[in-house]
Point group: C2
Chain length 382, copies 2
């Protein structure tokens, strides 16, 4: 396969089981998942030179191989997965085939680019703060973030362990569900699911993005009834964003601080800023964030009680241009995280559905449900 979109760190072939529900299909694995005998590079040359080859497959890789899928390579990630845009200062930016002048989104950048370009059927990624949902929206494919803890994620570089989840991309919904079944996620339930429209999250999206996803919402409403508006964050999404930022950064530093201090890696610009910020989080800040996080979890639990499902734009807008300044990217990222952080804070699954075009580039509409609702969300989107 010719890697026309700079999606792959390395290409190789590992055959899957001879028979299985994914037989005949291919996948790429984000380069934070261990593949036996290969280096797990994590988007960082300094990481690569300070780590050896993996001894065994990470469980999600083993599961897909066991279901018959063929692994065709490891895909690019943002550096240490600590970004949402898909740009890597060392390895370049994979091509967003749906909008070649724009970034593909990250940190699961190579997996989404490979799926969008038709190079693989399934792109294995991870989602801590939006690293599957955001690129799915940017590239016009389906992307699922799973319930925290539902799929074992060891032998995988942690970013912020209490947020990290496995996710994947595909171009069609039936395949999204087949993979979810392979991962033994609970079957879709058949009870009615009330749609909720979090107006404060919607208000973060650009006007033409709201307009672009409206027809997809109308389709969902035709099947599930009118969405009920609600204000998701009673005291404001800024507090939720700040809680996410602090708790994630504290865990990132806990996971990687010793390595950063020992290695002094030459990080790209945005990543360097975030690691510096992470190093400065105080114990008091972290404690406050953990306390606030519990109120967010409780709010989500109350809101989703009885099987309700939130419907929201995945991203504030289409992907930023590849030429966007670091400042513009940061503004976009903050706005995006106000929209994305609910699922991360509460450990909940979210499915991004390709929904339309804004400014000629894809935007996604998301369904966010309770724990274990992945296949229900997929069924609702169908």
């Amino acid at each position: 396969m010719e890697d026309t979109v700079n999606a792959f760190v390395s290409q190789f072939e590992i055959e899957g089981a001879a028979a299985g529900p994914l037989a005949g299909l291919t996948f790429g694995a984000k380069d934070i998942f261990d593949v036996a005998g290969h280096l797990t590079g994590c988007g960082s040359p300094d990481w690569a030179r300070t780590h050896g080859p993996a001894e065994a497959h990470a469980p999600p890789v083993a599961t897909l191989l066991g279901a018959g899928a063929r692994l065709v390579g490891k895909t690019h990630t943002d550096e240490i997965a600590y970004s949402l845009m898909g740009a890597n200062a060392h390895y370049g930016t994979p091509v967003n085939t749906a909008a070649p002048d724009r970034v593909p989104g990250g940190s699961s950048s190579g997996s989404v680019a490979a799926v969008a370009a038709g190079l693989v059927d399934i792109g294995l990624g991870s989602d801590t703060g939006g690293s599957v949902r955001m690129p799915a929206s940017f590239c016009g494919v389906y992307g699922l973030r799973t319930t925290h803890g539902a799929i074992p994620i060891d032998r995988t570089m942690p970013l912020a362990p209490s947020f990290d989840t496995v996710g994947w991309f595909a171009r069609d919904l039936a395949l999204m569900d087949r993979v979810a079944e392979v991962f033994a996620l609970p079957p879709a339930d058949s009870r009615p699911h009330r749609l909720l429209l979090p107006v404060d999250v919607w208000a973060e999206a650009e006007a033409d993005t709201v307009a672009a996803v409206a027809p997809a919402l109308a389709t969902l409403q035709a099947a599930h009834g009118p969405a009920t508006p609600l204000r998701l964050a009673p005291d404001g999404l800024d507090i939720w964003f700040e809680t996410f930022r602090v708790a994630q950064a504290a865990e990132v530093w806990q996971a990687h601080g010793p390595w950063v201090e020992a290695t002094a890696p030459s990080f790209g610009p945005g990543v360097a800023d975030r690691f510096r910020m992470a190093a400065g989080i105080t114990a008091t800040q972290w404690a406050t964030a953990r306390t606030t996080r519990e109120t967010v979890r409780a709010r989500l639990e109350a809101v989703l009680d009885g099987g309700a499902v939130l419907v929201l734009p995945t991203s504030p807008g289409p992907a930023p241009l590849r030429t966007a300044s670091e400042g513009d990217l940061d503004t976009f990222r903050r706005r995006a995280l106000r929209m994305l952080c609910a699922a991360g804070l509460a450990g909940l699954p979210q499915l991004s559905i390709p929904a339309g075009l804004a400014g000629g580039a894809p935007v996604g509409l998301s369904l966010l449900g309770g724990r274990g609702s992945e296949r229900t969300l997929i069924a609702m989107a169908g």
Copy 2:
């Protein structure tokens, strides 16, 4: 009639026409409308001492009398009508019978209080920036702001002439429509009306207010189909609010600056602040506001094209407590004006419908439509 709620400046009786569609009904008129032989006090003792009795009825008063309604008195207004809360430093605060510990809203404070208390059938008011809509929401009654220019408003104290409109309150929708018919507003049209949900306006409302109005929205959606979300102000409601604030203040100063400079009235605290602010608006600020106002008008025209109707909470929340600080009131007022300013800037009608309780106090849901859509909005609410 005993004025149990401090709604009336003065009580008297002027009989309406012997027969007519409003025969047998009573009304109170906000004390900015001229009533022949009576002083128009405008909520200001300084205004009262510097003005004489009116020579003739203001047209809206004459119209209601001509339709058979009996005028039973003039009702309190916020000072020079330049407030939204219903508190008057000189004459006190009318009682909100639906929530006696809270303000009734203003500036049509006495008219709304009299209607809510059942003292009159119709409360005649005016709406520049929300002075009918906001008190209707606070007191749990219907309130209509009409299309700018649809009902002649001479022999009435101007506040900001390019924003000033006639409006009224009633406890039932059938009467709202009967009054609209008396004012010769166009009949309801029978074409389908698509509901639009302006997410940025909704996001200004408190969480329990959004929850409180959701059932009324559901009823509207059952009749008119699911509301389509849209972002009303593409560049943010802050810009719309600022445009409203500047343009209104400039017109207020144009209308009343000479009198203020000649009289040096002893204004209540919030009103004094706003007149000081109005005195300082520069020609450049005003010109910018007029230009931006045209973009707002164009945006509303595009959004409402084809008969679409916006559905939105009338107010950020229930009425503030009577004991709220001037600072808290100002915060609430700014948020309220971000939600209310669209109709004012674009000169459009808006109907506030009593929709439920938040924190035990009333909140309203509004329908905002194109020019001349008043009776269509009333029909949709039925």
